[in-house]
Structures are given as structure tokens and as C-alpha cells.
């Protein structure tokens, strides 16, 4: 199997505090990799290092074959990122956001036109194209945000709690988009607090207090802890956490 993310003892310290402690794992091409953990476990911290937004304190990692220290800019061409905090421009319209980010990623005018038409079609946002993004409901914002993150057809997309605060119907639609992306060959790295979503992942890692405590398929994890749901797996593992608020 092709490895698209490889980390070795990746660590991030903020002063004395170790937010991510020697995390080591591999992610394979084409899979949906679930990155689970309680609040404050260090998921966002780890993801930001993988995206080249934050420099690790120690450890190594390669993303799409590029070294995170030396080839950060190469990595950025090959990944998409959807941050935990909504971060498209609220004072630009749907279309303007799509054009802007597409343009920054170097899409040609023709590509931009095709892509944005296709994207708007898929999201069913025809009548919203000229609306300011700030005025859209959260679910739509999130779907748009995801679509913009994969506009340049990256090898990997990082999603930080993409469905936080979104209603169940929209969450289903969101996961349809994720599957569509996977079908087109994109590897998905996703964090979530919803255990039903965890079941949709090919493999899952569980982070507790900055460390990876478990990593396997949902089925194997349930078996290992002799429980029937991911909820219980999560509970078993996160119970001992000190950081959880």
C-alpha cells in the first residue's frame, strides 16, 4: 500500500506543555483516516503540523512524499485544508471565494470556470452564487468550504471537525461529498467528535492527552475492547484523559 502520510515521533511543545507527544502513524492512499480524541487532545495541533502551518518541536514527517521541514511549499501544493474555524471570506460571494482560492492555487481561467460551475451544480447552490458567504447557513458554509479545499485536486485533504454543529441531514450530505472525493482519488484525513462518523472511516486513531493510544479499523477496535459501538471504545480510551474539559 502507498503511504501518503508518514510521521515519526512528531512532537509539538508550547513551552513546558506537550500538545502532541511523539505521534507516529501512517496513512495510506485512498483511505479515510479518522483522527479522534477528546477536546484538547491535540488533534488540531497535529493537523497543523502536517499542513505546514506549525513547525514541529521534534520528530519527522513526510506528506505526499515531501519532508515537512524542507519542502513545506511543495506539500502545500498537494494538500487541501479545512480548518476547525470557518475561514472563507464572509464578505465575498460564493463565486468570488471559489475564484479567489482557485486562482491562488494556480488554476487557469478555463479550469476556474469549469470547476466553479461544476461545484455549484453539485452543491445545488445556483441561486446562492451571488450571495455573501457570511449570510449562508452553517451547513452550506461547511460544504462550500470543503469544496473549495479540494478545488485544486489535492492528493490529501485535511478536515478539522468539518461537521461540528451541523444538522444530521447536512452531515449525511457532507459525507457524500467526502466519499465522492475519495472516489476521485483523494485521501481524507478527518477529525470528528461524532462516533457515527467514526464508523465511516477506514481506520481510526485515538488521541489521548497528546498521545496516540489506539490505531486500527473500527471493527478491530471494537473487538479489541470487547464492545459493540465506537462510543464505548471512545469512552474506554478517553476516560483516563486529564485534559478533557
Amino acid at each position: 500500500m502507498d503511504t501518503v502520510i508518514h510521521t515519526n515521533k512528531l512532537t509539538k511543545r508550547f513551552g513546558d506543555f506537550i500538545a502532541a507527544n511523539e505521534i507516529t502513524f501512517d496513512v495510506y492512499r485512498g483511505e479515510i483516516f479518522g483522527f479522534l480524541g477528546a477536546n484538547g487532545a491535540g488533534k488540531t495541533t497535529a493537523m497543523r503540523m502536517l499542513c505546514g502551518l506549525s513547525t514541529p518541536s521534534s520528530g519527522t514527517a513526510t506528506i505526499a512524499g515531501f519532508d515537512i521541514y524542507k519542502q513545506a511549499e511543495e506539500i502545500k501544493k498537494n494538500i487541501g485544508y479545512m480548518s476547525q474555524k470557518f475561514s472563507l471570506y464572509e464578505d465575498l460571494t460564493v463565486l468570488e471565494n471559489i475564484r479567489f482560492f482557485g486562482g491562488i492555487y494556480g488554476l487557469s481561467d478555463r479550469q476556474l470556470k469549469e470547476k466553479s460551475e461544476q461545484l455549484i451544480e453539485t452543491l445545488g447552490m445556483k441561486s446562492e452564487v451571488k450571495k455573501m458567504v457570511g449570510s449562508l447557513p452553517l451547513g452550506w458554509k461547511q460544504k462550500l468550504s470543503f469544496s473549495v479545499a479540494i478545488l485544486h485536486e489535492p492528493k490529501i485533504v485535511f478536515l478539522d471537525e468539518p461537521t461540528g454543529g451541523v444538522d444530521p441531514v447536512t452531515r449525511r450530505q457532507f459525507w457524500d461529498l467526502i466519499y465522492e472525493a475519495v472516489d476521485s482519488g483523494i485521501t481524507v484525513f478527518v477529525t470528528t467528535h461524532y462516533m457515527d462518523e467514526a464508523e465511516y472511516c477506514n481506520r481510526i486513531s485515538m488521541m489521548v492527552d497528546g498521545e496516540i493510544k489506539a490505531l486500527d479499523t473500527p471493527a478491530k477496535l471494537k473487538q479489541q475492547y470487547s464492545v459493540t459501538s465506537m462510543d464505548e471504545v471512545f469512552y474506554e480510551l478517553a476516560r483516563g484523559a486529564k485534559r478533557s474539559e
Partner: protein
């Protein structure tokens, strides 16, 4: 280039959509240019003066007529003694007393030294103090005349020739608006440049949109140019509005010197000021922090700029500090080109210093701006 095009298009769209920002950029500066020069007009006329002439000489007469000819003073009365004069002040008939002691002419010629006594009415302090300042200047001017005469008579020079350079010599009518408007315009352009640039970038930090930019393969210089160019353009537009729309049309200040030179200097100056804004944005995490830091610098720069306070009157350490404030140079250059018609050779050192500011502030900011934290 293509990336920059997208960045600029986005930035201009956002600026023109910001309903709070637009008036800040275009209406407020105009209002300030209309109001501030009036408020900051220190010129006072019709200062009542009481003169006590104990000397009754040709010299004292000459001094008095010179004072009266200046146009600032109105003779309240001639008093015979200081006590009489004091009554005038006490009854608010007079703002200022000038006493010319006996032997004024003689002492001036023999010893070339003579004291005059001046008393000001503390009730209307501003008027009287300004009167005192004017009077001082007139006397200094007069004194130089006297010395000149005297030196010629004696045919040898025991005195250091004191050159009196009036700071208003290129503003012969002493019209304070001529003096203030270019300075205030310089100040406004500075504030707009530094504040807007800093706040704009920090806002992206606060909203988190900068993360979305930093995770793209965008180059540092592209992002920075995308921020600098729009505010540079706005700075030029606001300046032009102020210079022609207000300075020329309202105050009748037609620039004497080369406009090309003025705009060339403005261009470099704006780059320096925007560099400061950029630098502030790399240190501030919130708009509030950016505001505080920018405010701190602006206060120092304004106080040190010589706009509202005279640089000549500053203590040594403060005088040295004015050299570190870019706005000092711009105000000077503005006055030199607009009022005096100075040429490039006159402001060459100002130019070099400003290039230095622009390079160091931007260099520091670019070094400090990190796509990765």
C-alpha cells in the same frame, strides 16, 4: 503575477464593500483637513500692548514703530511708569507690557547689550504668551538691525554675527494655514497607511482566513504585495484629494515645487509607512493589540513631528528622537516642496533617509511574517 491579480482583486472588493472603512478613508480625512487647520491656527491678532518708554530716544521710537507695524499689536496706552502700566493689565485693558528702560539707546551702542522688560497678562495666557513670542521675534529682528548699524560704525567686529533665521521665512505672510495644512495632510496619510494596513492583516488573523491563505503555496512576497499595493493606491488617492481638493481649492495653497518630486517622495514614504503597518501586524494577534501598538507609535511620531510643537524648542534628547520618526521628514519635505519649491538637491538626504526607513521597516516585517508558526 496571476496570483497577485487575484489577491488585489479580492482586497479591493473587500475594501469597497466595507461600509465602515470607506468613510474612514475618504470622508474623515477631508473633515479633518477642514477643521484641524482652523483649530490649530495659533495666529492671534489685536494683542493689546502697553508700552513704557523710559528712554525716549530715536532707538526706542524705532523699536516701537516696528512693533506697531507688525500688525499683531494694538497700542493700549503709553504709560509713564510700570505701575501705571500694571493698572492697565489689572483692568484687562492690556495683555502685555513692554518696558524700555532708561539708557536703552546708549547701552545698546556702547555695550551692545540691553535688557527689555516684558510682562504678560496671565488671565488670557494664550493671547499674551503668543504676543510675547511675536514681540520677542520682532525685538530679535530689530536687535540684529541695531547691531548691524553699530558694527558698521565701529568698523571692527567684536561680536559674533548673530543670524536670525525666522522659521517662517518661506511663509512671509505668517499664514498658519499654509504652514499647517501640508503638515496635517502628511499626518493623515501616515495614519491611514499604518492603521489600515495593520488592521487589515490582523483582521485576517482574527477571522482565521490567514490560515486558509498560509496553507496555499502562495509566496510571502505575493501576499505582502497584495496587502501593500491597495493601501498604497488609497494613500495616493487620499493625498491627492487633500492636496488639490482641500489644500488648493479651499485654502488656496498651490504647490510651488515639482509635483513629480512630491509624488515620488510620497511613494517612498507610503512604502515606509505601510511597512510599519505590516510590522505591527506581525506582532499583534488581535485588532485591539494592533490599534494600541499603532496608537503608541502615532502618538510619539506626532509629538515628535514638529507639527504641533516646535522642534527647535525641544530638549536635545527629544530633538534626536525626531530623527527616528519618518513623519518628521515627510512634513519637512511637504513644506519644502509645496511652500518653498525646493528641488531634488534640497531634499536628497530626506529621500535617502526615507528609502532607508522603507527598506528596514519592510525588511523587518517580511522577515517577521511567517507562514508557519
Amino acid at each position: 503575477m496571476r496570483t497577485l491579480k487575484f489577491l488585489l482583486r479580492k482586497e479591493f472588493k473587500q475594501i469597497f464593500r466595507n461600509k465602515a472603512l470607506l468613510p474612514m478613508l475618504f470622508v474623515v480625512p477631508i473633515m479633518q483637513l477642514l477643521i484641524l487647520p482652523l483649530a490649530a491656527d495659533y495666529e492671534v491678532k489685536n494683542i493689546n500692548i502697553t508700552i513704557v518708554d523710559q528712554d525716549h530716544s530715536a532707538y526706542s521710537q524705532k523699536l516701537i514703530s516696528k512693533i506697531m507695524a507688525s500688525g499683531y499689536f494694538r497700542l493700549a496706552s503709553y504709560a509713564t511708569g510700570f505701575n501705571d502700566a500694571f493698572d492697565d493689565v489689572e483692568n484687562d485693558r492690556s495683555d502685555l507690557i513692554l518696558e524700555i528702560p532708561q539708557g536703552f539707546e546708549r547701552n545698546l551702542i556702547r555695550e551692545n547689550e540691553q535688557q527689555l522688560y516684558m510682562a504678560v497678562n496671565a488671565i488670557n495666557g494664550v493671547k499674551a504668551n503668543l504676543g510675547g513670542t511675536y514681540l520677542n521675534r520682532i525685538i530679535a529682528d530689530y536687535n540684529a538691525d541695531v547691531r548691524l548699524e553699530w558694527v558698521q560704525m565701529s568698523k571692527f567686529n567684536r561680536l559674533p554675527t548673530i543670524e536670525i533665521v525666522s522659521s517662517n521665512w518661506f511663509n512671509p505672510t505668517m499664514n498658519y494655514r499654509f504652514y499647517m495644512v501640508p503638515g496635517i495632510l502628511a499626518l493623515l496619510v501616515t495614519m491611514i497607511g499604518a492603521y489600515m494596513c495593520a488592521l487589515n492583516i490582523v483582521k485576517e488573523k482574527e477571522k482565521g482566513t490567514i490560515e486558509q491563505i498560509n496553507v496555499t503555496p502562495i509566496k510571502k512576497y505575493q501576499f505582502i504585495l497584495g496587502k501593500l499595493i491597495p493601501f498604497w493606491v488609497i494613500g495616493i488617492v487620499v493625498f491627492t484629494m487633500g492636496l488639490f481638493g482641500i489644500g488648493w481649492l479651499v485654502y488656496g495653497i498651490a504647490p510651488i515645487g515639482s509635483l513629480l518630486l512630491l509624488y515620488a517622495y510620497l511613494s517612498v514614504y507610503l512604502i515606509a509607512v505601510l511597512g510599519l503597518g505590516l510590522l505591527i501586524s506581525t506582532y499583534a494577534e488581535t485588532q485591539q493589540q494592533a490599534m494600541s501598538i499603532a496608537f503608541f507609535f502615532m502618538m510619539i511620531f506626532i509629538l515628535m513631528s514638529g507639527l504641533f510643537t516646535s522642534i527647535d524648542g525641544m530638549p536635545e534628547w527629544a530633538y534626536i528622537m525626531t530623527k527616528f520618526s519618518p513623519i518628521t521628514y515627510f512634513i519637512e519635505v511637504m513644506r519644502m516642496i509645496v511652500l518653498k519649491g525646493s528641488a531634488f538637491s534640497d531634499i536628497k538626504s530626506h529621500f535617502l533617509i526615507m528609502v532607508g526607513f522603507a527598506v528596514s521597516l519592510n525588511g523587518w516585517a517580511i522577515y517577521n511574517y511567517k507562514k508557519t508558526s
